[in-house]
């Protein structure tokens, strides 16, 4: 989907996205010529539909994880269905107690994958400790609609 700035006849560029965590998604697009901004808001059903089609609004920021669609979308998955490779998660990035508590809310079915994504992102950003605020930032930056 593209947006067009009608007065300028220019394709608008993706600016930022916001994921409040309630299933909704807001994406802001800006006209490169006149700087006019417009925002798109999707409700939870629309967000889910877009996600199920494998679309990442604003482009993909994180490499695709193996079976991430199933792991992110399945409800009622076995908690110990996957054994993620621990080597990549065992990085010199600390997790604050609050961040671990928040991670514990993620179903075990998908927790290993989520933890690795946050850890890799923090490493790339040079962040030494993952806190809930860092997780929020990562979610928005990476477009992790379901995490």
């Amino acid at each position: 989907m593209k947006f067009l700035c009608v007065p300028c006849d220019e394709q608008m560029e993706f600016e930022e996205r916001s994921l409040p965590g309630d299933g909704t998604l807001a994406a802001v697009f800006r006209c490169p010529k006149c700087d006019h901004e417009t925002a798109m808001l999707t409700n939870p059903m629309e967000t889910r539909l877009v996600s199920s089609l494998g679309v990442s609004i604003g482009g993909r920021q994180v490499p695709e994880q193996p079976m991430e669609g199933v792991r992110g979308g399945l409800s009622g998955g076995r908690e110990d269905a996957f054994a993620d490779d621990p080597t990549s998660a065992a990085a010199p990035v600390r997790w604050s107690v609050e961040a671990i508590e928040r991670l514990d809310v993620v179903p075990r079915f998908v927790r290993g994958m989520v933890k690795r994504i946050y850890t890799d992102w923090a490493k790339e950003q040079g962040i030494g400790e993952i806190t809930p605020a860092v997780m929020d930032q990562a979610r928005t930056d990476l477009g992790l609609e379901e995490m």
Partner: protein, 253 residues
């Protein structure tokens, strides 16, 4: 594939994969029946987490060495297939989720070098269409039917769809062709009709085999003892003959 439910596709798929593996061909079994997965149980997969490493998920391995990927390995005991999302309007995205799951079972699983990948499709044609689009160059389809006319017409429609999409029909397997009397060993008919032969003739495909109903075989399949099923039952004998016919069909120019 079949188009019709309850014809024994899953047991036959799992038994074919096991027989091929026993013959020295590395075989994999992808259970595309996401709502009623049984492949892991039939192949005797011991419950353990699937390893995720190097950007791929390693398939489970059945007791006879068949590589298996099935929703059965991912769902909690007794849990139905359900997707996260708002409680209403699930029909809008569920088909996409299931198609994506099938794609990931194919592409994100490190199947390794396989001689055969058997894909067990659920009844109906939706998943079959997904598969045809995801893997346009399939070696072919094997249809499982019953002798009775009702099954025949459903399978006929599914085969018509395969032909329409240019997918080769490798052959027909007629299941539950009769019940072998435990006293006299006679094969007595279970259903009226000759659905397998009729389908084979109308689609110009070989009848790969006719499998008798065998309660012992059903019990062995349910218990994940397919090697024993293949070795020790009439049903197993017939299935091994199907494997030979299937190999000839695939290997013939």
């Amino acid at each position: 594939m079949s188009g019709k439910g309850g014809v024994g596709k899953s047991m036959i798929s799992a038994a074919l994969a096991t027989a091929l593996q026993a013959d020295g061909d590395r075989a994999g079994l992808l259970d595309a029946d996401l709502h009623g997965p049984t492949a892991a149980r039939m192949c005797g997969v011991k419950p353990m987490p699937l390893a995720v490493a190097d950007g791929a998920v390693r398939p489970a391995t059945g007791v006879d060495g068949v590589a298996v990927m099935s929703m059965d390995l991912l769902l909690a005991e007794g849990a139905p297939l359900a997707w996260r999302g708002p409680e209403t309007d699930g029909f809008v995205w569920e088909a996409s989720e299931e198609r994506r799951a099938l794609r990931e079972f194919l592409s994100d699983v490190e199947w390794g070098p396989l001689g055969w990948l058997i894909i067990d499709l659920p009844p109906g044609t939706r998943r079959m269409l997904d598969l045809f689009e995801l893997v346009p160059e399939l070696t072919g389809v094997v249809a499982v039917t019953l002798p009775a006319g009702a099954a025949r017409s459903s399978v006929d429609r599914a085969l018509g769809l395969a032909r329409q999409r240019g997918i080769p029909i490798l052959g027909i397997v007629e299941n539950m062709v009769g019940y072998r009397c435990p006293q006299c060993d006679d094969l007595r008919p279970l259903f009226p009709g000759d659905g397998g032969r009729e389908l084979a003739d109308s689609h110009g495909a070989p009848l790969l085999g006719r499998i008798p109903f065998d309660p012992d075989a059903a019990q062995l399949a349910d218990g994940g003892s397919l090697a024993e099923l293949l070795e020790a039952t009439h049903c197993g004998q017939a299935l091994r003959a199907v494997v030979e016919s299937l190999k000839s069909e695939v290997e013939s120019p």
